[in-house]
Amino acid sequence: MQADRRRLNAPAGGTAPPVFASANTSPPRRRRKADEHRKIFLQTGIVPSAAGSAYYELPPDPATPPLTRKSSLKITCTVHGPRPLPRNAAFSPNLLLTTHVKYAPFATKTRRGYVRDSSERDLGLHLETALRGVVIGERWPKSAADVVITVLEGEDDGPAGAHSGDMGSGWGMLSVLAGCITVASAAIVDAGIDCVDLVSGGVAALVHDQSSEITTVLDPAPAEHVTRAACLVAYLQSRDEITEMWMKGDAGGDLGGLIESAVQSATLARTVLVEAVKDSTEARVAAMSPPELPSTDAASKGRPKDVVTTG
């Protein structure tokens, strides 16, 4: 074929597209046992200017090599309140709890915008349902409390390499919500709002493992499995009650077993929650100066200290 002189031509010999070595040698597989939860890091009081705050992290497994994708979860929560309602709000006999969940734009594989989309609002509603059962709202009339959650790093929705499809219906949302429930519970207790109990979130899933059998796993990391059904519960252990349940997928005949496993996962998460809240409360009480220690009567006894008047 004659060379076309009117244009800049491609090299005569033809080109071959570059072939890159694939980064993933093998997709990550679950190394934990089926009933083992990932290690949780939970600390309260990280934002001193807020009434209550907490930070929750699922650190990545140090045993996996750094190049393979590892799923981890980082959530911060701040609680503002109880504070007075705005002037033109109607009288509310109970505490007005509002939740606000937002993924940071860099939190997931595909960038999210600054404005909340519908999946984040949905997460906020689930969280509100879970927390409203725990908070004793009638002790806080005419007040509002805001729970603001920022997800700094979210979970992948499916096995690595698969087209994750719609971000909103992914399985990773359940694990993120479980973390949000636990961290919000720690922050609310840190803020001093009355609660009936500590609420913890737990997830269990029915997954296809290598032999394509269906097994139940606790605390699934969706990047490691092909999930068939998953269930999240927000569990109150001292009352044995569930304030929030979210189940997706086809559980077949064993729905009760799936719920039981989710409750078990929530119980495992609660042990960490109890530790963290206890540590921070002890630190706070120890830091309180002696005159502020509670006396047995509600009002303080003795000589009231006056404000110094100058002059």
Binding site: A51, P82, R83, P84, L85, R87, N88, A89, A90, F91, I136, W140, P141, K142, S143, V189, D190, A191, G192, D194, C195, V196, D197, L198, L236, Q237, S238, R239, V274, V277, K278, T281, E282, R284, V285, A286, M288, E292, L293, P294, S295, T296, D297, A298, A299, S300, R303, P304, K305, D306, V307, T309, T310, G311
Partner: protein, 190 residues
Amino acid sequence: MASTIVLPGEPLGPSATNIPGPGSHIHAGHLFSSLAGPLAKSSTSKSTPNPTLTVARPSGILIPETGTTVLGRITRTNPRLANLSILALGPSGEHTCRDSFPAIIRQQDIRATEIDKVKVAESFRVGDVVRATVISLGDERSYFCSTAKNELGVVMAVSEGGNQMVPVSWREFLDERTGARELRKVAKPV
């Protein structure tokens, strides 16, 4: 640190033999804690054979409740009431509020005696720091407060000349620089 730390949901005792105090709640015949903090048990006597279990909040009082003594600043006055902005909770302002709460002191709540002859202009001025107690949650806009006790009333005031004044009686402040006296409902300094 003798008192034990309890967490929300921890059982404290059966409700038949214990009285629930602030920070606790009853569920299924048993007392449970609703806050994370130190547990306090009140002493028992012949009239109250059951102890009251209270869990204190480590951060102190959070919002004004009926019976709380508060410190605030007067923001407006009119012949029937004075508007107060609650800035701190506790008799000496132990807990500063993050946001101020609006409150009202009505003319009939300023004093305990001769309440219909009270003049608001002779009791409070805008800018005075006042110690009051919350008597009610009030309406949507403000709490209701009262200064009808000896130790309640104006604690700090600035004279018309701009100088800090000292209290001289239950109803007068003295500006030491100019010697002028101004009428206020003065809190009894202890």
